[in-house]
């Protein structure tokens, strides 16, 4: 039940629907009554991406077709998925291997510039023994777009994988990450921030499966929804039998800034080992009225005060981005999305 199967076969019944437990808040079958035609090839200029200037090499997909490829798997690499065709569908898949001992920063962007497209991206990522990957995913979709991004990540012993997803949602959008965690001193940081307004929807789903001794996972997702937007967080950490000394922490914290906005959150810890340290925290609330009054009393108009406090709220996720240039791009993106001057 995936969008990519539906795009390949044209079979709408392959779309996940609300009857699928893991998709119940991100119904695609109910939304897509037809599939738009496959996007045409684009010949012409491709506008610069959000991480322009930061990467040593780049791989670029436009309308689902690869137009530039780099086989670099160390250093700083940009991976761009650009949608330039309105009312069209596009599917892309890409594989990435970080060799043992190597270190890679992946600056991934999903750049919607075409209205009502349907996009599906599947990534297969392997991080070798002692290797490290920091993946920063900036998803800037159009309000009418449907986009599903799925990454399968397999880690070798001693590998380090850090991820930060930043999204402003779409008509319907799912960013899913599945991590096979071998334990064995491998480390995972899995972060996200969603900022949703109007009728936008974003679903951040993750599954981390610890299969061996001594693994660490630290997960922090923060979000803000306003207007009639809807945020979905599904975080599952599985600690298999024998994966003792696993240390896993999951946090999801969100702000709801309007009566009609909605957040659906499902944090899950499934633990089949005995000696583990696991915790999760999930909070959803409004901005503190007292703090808002304090800011207004100092002369800051309400909308600016809300933006400032939301930037600060999400800031904790941004601070955890290790690559300095990407961190600055992320901070600027947050400020721009929230209309904050700071």
């Amino acid at each position: 039940m995936t969008l990519s199967t539906a795009l390949k076969t044209g079979d709408l019944s392959a779309l996940p629907s609300r009857r699928d437990e893991d998709w119940r808040w991100t119904d695609l079958r109910g939304l897509l009554k037809t599939l738009p035609p496959v996007a045409p090839a684009h010949d012409g200029e491709v506008p610069a991406g959000p991480f322009a200037g930061l990467a040593d090499a780049e791989t670029v997909f436009v309308n689902g077709r690869r137009v530039a490829a780099s086989d670099a798997a160390s250093g700083v690499v940009a991976l761009r998925f650009v949608a330039l065709a309105d009312k069209a569908s596009q599917g892309a898949s890409h594989a990435l291997v970080v060799k043992p001992g190597e270190s890679l920063v992946l600056l991934e962007s999903h750049e919607g510039r075409a209205g009502a497209y349907v996009s599906d991206v599947v990534l297969d990522i392997a991080v070798g023994e002692g290797a490290s990957l920091e993946r920063i995913v900036l998803v800037d979709d159009e309000a009418e777009a449907v986009n599903v991004v799925t990454a399968d990540v397999i880690l070798a012993p001693g590998a380090k994988f850090a991820q930060t997803v930043l999204t402003s949602g779409a008509r319907r959008q799912r960013i899913e990450t599945r991590v096979r965690h071998p334990g064995a001193h491998a480390q995972v940081r899995l972060d996200g921030a969603y900022l949703l307004d109007a009728q936008r929807h974003a679903d951040l789903t993750s599954v981390v499966t610890h299969s061996g001794l001594d693994g660490v996972t630290s997960q922090l997702t923060k979000g803000m929804v306003t207007d009639q937007a809807r945020g979905v967080f599904q975080g599952r950490i599985v600690v298999e039998k024998g994966a003792d000394q696993t240390d896993a922490r999951m946090g999801h914290h969100a702000l709801i800034l309007s009566d009609k906005a909605e957040i659906d959150a499902k944090p899950e810890l499934l633990i089949f080992a005995d000696d583990v340290s696991c915790a999760h925290g999930n909070t959803i609330g409004a901005l503190d009225d007292e703090v808002l009054f304090y800011a207004k009393q100092r002369g800051i108009p309400e909308a600016d005060a809300k933006a400032m406090l939301t930037v600060a709220f999400v800031g904790e996720v941004i601070e955890r981005i290790e690559h300095e240039g990407a961190r600055e791009v992320a901070a600027a993106w947050v400020a721009r999305k929230l209309g904050s001057e700071a």
Binding site: Y294, K296, Q297, G299, I300, L309, A312
Partner: protein
């Protein structure tokens, strides 16, 4: 300067202020003293426009301009500043960012140019030094993890950066030890000027040893029941509220 006439206000359905009349001319410092529950904090919140405080009658003007119909931030831009009894903590917003945002918002509202970053930093360094505030503290989240005394000093710092026309100090002495009280009072006294008025709200007389008022008013059960010179504060301290409030009732 600040002119309050027959001000009535309620919180939910409960009347708290029942006809407060008060004039604080420019250049003067007036103290408002009163027992717990008299309406002292309500008066400060009504003047600054906090949600949930509803004015049912009367008026308040600053230099002849109505303030009660304005948003809290508009009142601030007109020059009204409230030093909070319990200043709020704002994680993730450095004090300097907060104050610069506030200062520039006020300046924009008044049709003035924004202050440039170098000029702002220079001003902040001077004012922080005068208040013995470690400049590094200003780069951390506003008031986060600060002691009561540090928070009050940060209020005075904001005051001196924003340079308001009229100050309301709500229980500024609460939670301060004697050294902090001296620093805070010196900071407030440095802001006394012929163009600026102040309303100092306090339960205890001791703050008024440091910030000498021109006039003292006693607020009880939502009304001013006695007014006088600084000696009134001493009399209250010696005799207690019951006697004066009782005599006026």
């Amino acid at each position: 300067m600040l002119s309050i006439k027959n001000l009535h206000a309620r919180v939910e359905d409960k009347p708290i202020l029942k006809g407060v009349t008060l004039d604080v001319p420019a250049g003067e410092v007036h103290a408002i003293m009163g027992p717990n529950g008299a309406g002292k904090s309500t008066l400060s919140y009504v003047l600054t426009g906090r949600d949930g405080y509803e004015v049912t009658e009367g008026s308040a003007t600053l230099n002849g301009e109505d303030v009660l119909s304005l948003e809290p931030n508009e009142r601030a831009a007109k020059g009204l500043f409230l030093s909070f009894q319990y200043p709020l903590e704002i994680p993730g917003v450095p004090a300097l960012t907060f104050i610069r945002t506030a200062l520039n918002a006020q300046r924009r509202a008044r049709g003035e140019d924004e202050i440039a970053a170098p000029a702002f930093l220079k001003l902040a360094k001077e004012k922080a030094a005068a208040l013995k505030i470690d400049f590094e503290m200003l780069k951390r989240g506003l008031n986060v993890g600060f002691s009561g005394g540090e928070k009050k000093r940060m209020e005075i710092f904001q005051m001196s950066m924003l340079s308001p026309k009229f100050l309301i100090l709500d229980e500024t002495d609460s939670g301060l030890d004697i050294d902090a009280l001296k620093i805070v009072s010196e900071g407030v006294n440095a802001l006394r000027s012929p163009e600026r008025g102040m309303l100092v709200i306090t339960h205890y007389q001791r703050l008024l040893d440091h910030i000498k008022p021109d006039k003292v008013h006693v607020l009880a059960a939502g009304r001013i029941v006695a007014s006088g010179g600084p000696e009134l504060a001493l009399q209250l301290e010696a005799e207690g509220y019951d006697r004066i409030v009782g005599a006026a009732a």
